[in-house]
């Protein structure tokens, strides 16, 4: 095949790929900016003069649950990633550097837990949490979210701590630093960027979670995902409002993913295929 033809096919393929990936997203943003009357005319009336923020102001009305949902999602995702980082970074460092016996086995077990269906742990946890009045509380949901956040955090950070030069830690030891001082004053400071990136990743995962949320929340801690699903379950679906709420809930995490793309690509994507 001549070179120019190859290049033509690749350009065409890349354009198709971009269109297919972004098209549905752009269409949902457009939909969220149009009034119902424009959406239900055939073909849809895409006159830019129709653009309105009405759907957004309606869904953010305090009676609709989306606003409090966004706040709940923020609280839960923040605490889940913070606790996950503190507990996970310590465990990851121990597994990477502190010569624990059986650390390889422990690591494989942690990895295997990533692959359990949520429903297996959701049923017993629901029974326990109903009895201890933890259903529909922030604390309960954060604890359950740690079940999938903690293994991811340990897995990503362990890979990072292993790449910290051993010489740095030896030098600290020669200078009389205890292991905990080495971790606190040598390893942690140079690990801040990957720690932060892992935290962002954990935040996105916790923010987007739906399955445990639908089982373990009732009224008080409904997350943004639950609020969106409720829009879609109404007898008469108001598509403009439904998509406005989907856009509002997606903007923070999509923005985070784009801003921190380098860390996500290097930390998580590479981590998944390299042990």
């Amino acid at each position: 095949m001549p070179r120019y033809l190859t290049r033509f096919f690749i350009r065409f393929g890349l354009a198709t790929f971009t269109l297919l990936s972004l098209g549905p997203v752009i269409w949902s943003v457009v939909t969220s900016l149009l009034p119902l009357s424009a959406l239900t005319s055939r073909p849809p009336d895409l006159n830019p003069l129709n653009i309105t923020l009405e759907n957004y102001s309606l869904v953010l009305d305090s009676s609709r649950g989306l606003f409090s949902g966004l706040i709940n999602s923020f609280i839960i995702a923040t605490f889940t990633s913070a606790v996950g980082l503190v507990v996970g970074s310590m465990a990851a460092y121990a597994l990477a550097r502190l010569n624990l016996p059986g650390s390889n086995k422990l690591l494989l077990m942690i990895l295997a837990t990533q692959m359990f269906p949520g429903i297996v742990i959701a049923i017993p946890l629901f029974l326990v949490m109903s009895r201890t009045h933890l259903v529909d509380t922030h604390f309960g949901l954060i604890a359950v979210y740690l079940s999938f956040i903690l293994p991811i955090v340990i897995w990503i950070l362990k890979g990072f701590f292993e790449s910290v030069p051993m010489e740095l830690e030896r030098a600290a030891a020669v200078d009389g630093a205890s292991p905990i001082q080495t971790f606190r004053y040598i390893v942690l400071p140079i690990s801040l960027p990957p720690l932060f990136a892992t935290g962002v990743f954990a935040f996105i995962e916790a923010w987007n979670e739906f399955f445990f949320a639908i089982i373990l929340t009732r009224i008080n801690v409904k997350t943004a995902s639950i609020a969106i699903a409720e829009f879609s379950g109404q007898y008469q679906t108001l598509y403009g409002q439904m998509l406005a709420s989907a856009v509002l809930a997606s903007v923070p995490v999509v923005a985070l993913a784009i801003i921190f793309r380098r860390f996500i690509l290097e930390g998580f994507v590479e981590g998944a295929i390299k042990a």
């Binding site: 429903i119 946890l125 994507v269």
Partner: protein, 303 residues
């Protein structure tokens, strides 16, 4: 000045202290519920007033499962969904990754394009497709009527097989980006001298793909297939938003069935039995994943 013995003992103790919190958390939120789920599946659980009433039930829940036609159909559909979804995702992701690895596709813009569907919340993804598939006003019907492919609106989520496949399509769209990123990382780990050597031997593009790219991607592809199979078996959000299992339970897959039996029909033991079937399927896949990761580690140690 401390002796090296003291130092090593300190490290060992610190290791125990550092792993303890994570182990305690994981014991409570993972190990305990997994064990409890196994036990529950051998019990008959009934809601009695305020509390629960447990009664030993032997293998009855599992026997009921095998007799139940909906379970067998859901199992079959889950396997169908997983196989077709994974095949579609891997195929499209491989094409996307090859294009993005070409000099024309190396621009950072395309990485951003991949991250958008990946980061989108699954529920946002589900409502987005609910709108696209809408029979009266959805863009899909407008587009195919506009192209003259059909005269009438197609009710995408109204008939059994079609609805299942439309859910599958939405799931493929969401899943391709991440797998494409994995494969892209795998492609970039293939040393370029292998391609040079192949070209010196006179290999054309296709031969380079078959003899250099595919063997180099083997581990990445195995891992992608396993991870994607696990995620496909777990599909829930799309079913919940798009069909709630309708029409006539034709989009009920295992995870959804387990959830519905437990939390809508309140048949906890039966729901747990279904969950355990799903668990076994996924655990077998997890073992393959761990196997796939292992050879590299041994190689790294030798080298």
């Amino acid at each position: 000045m401390q002796s090296s013995n003291d130092y090593n003992r300190n490290r060992y103790h610190l290791g125990l202290w550092f792993t303890a919190p994570a182990i305690i958390v994981l014991l409570i939120v993972l190990a305990y519920p997994i064990a409890a789920s196994l036990i529950l599946s051998f019990l008959r659980v009934r809601f009695a007033g305020q509390g629960l009433d447990f009664e030993f039930y032997g293998f009855t829940n599992y026997a009921d499962l095998l007799k139940n036609q909906l379970f067998r159909e859901a199992l079959f559909r889950s396997v169908y969904f997983t196989v077709v979804e994974v095949a579609g995702v891997i195929f499209l992701a491989l094409i996307a990754a090859l294009m993005l690895n070409h000099p024309l596709g190396r621009h950072a813009f395309f990485r951003v394009v991949l991250l958008v569907p990946w980061a989108l919340s699954p529920v946002a993804n589900a409502v987005l497709w609910k709108w696209i598939y809408n029979a009266n006003y959805g863009i899909l019907n407008q587009a195919i009527i506009g192209l003259g492919l059909t005269q009438e609106n197609i009710i995408w989520l109204g008939s059994p097989w079609l609805a299942l496949n439309m859910i599958l399509l939405a799931d493929v769209w969401k899943a391709v980006p991440f797998i494409a990123l994995l494969i892209l990382a795998g492609l970039q780990n293939i040393p370029s001298y292998l391609y040079k050597a192949a070209r010196l031997d006179g290999a054309n593009t296709w031969q380079q793909f078959v003899h250099v790219t595919l063997p180099g991607l083997k581990t990445t592809l195995v891992i992608s297939i396993v991870l994607q199979s696990i995620w496909a078996l777990k599909v829930f959000d799309l079913i919940y938003v798009l069909t709630k299992g309708s029409p006539a339970d034709s989009t009920v897959l295992l995870n959804y069935l387990s959830w519905r039996e437990t939390f809508s029909n309140l048949d906890v033991g039966y729901g747990a039995a279904i969950a355990n079937v799903l668990f076994v399927l996924m655990f077998m896949l997890a073992l393959v994943y761990i196997r796939a990761l292992r050879p590299r580690r041994i190689k790294a140690k030798d080298g």
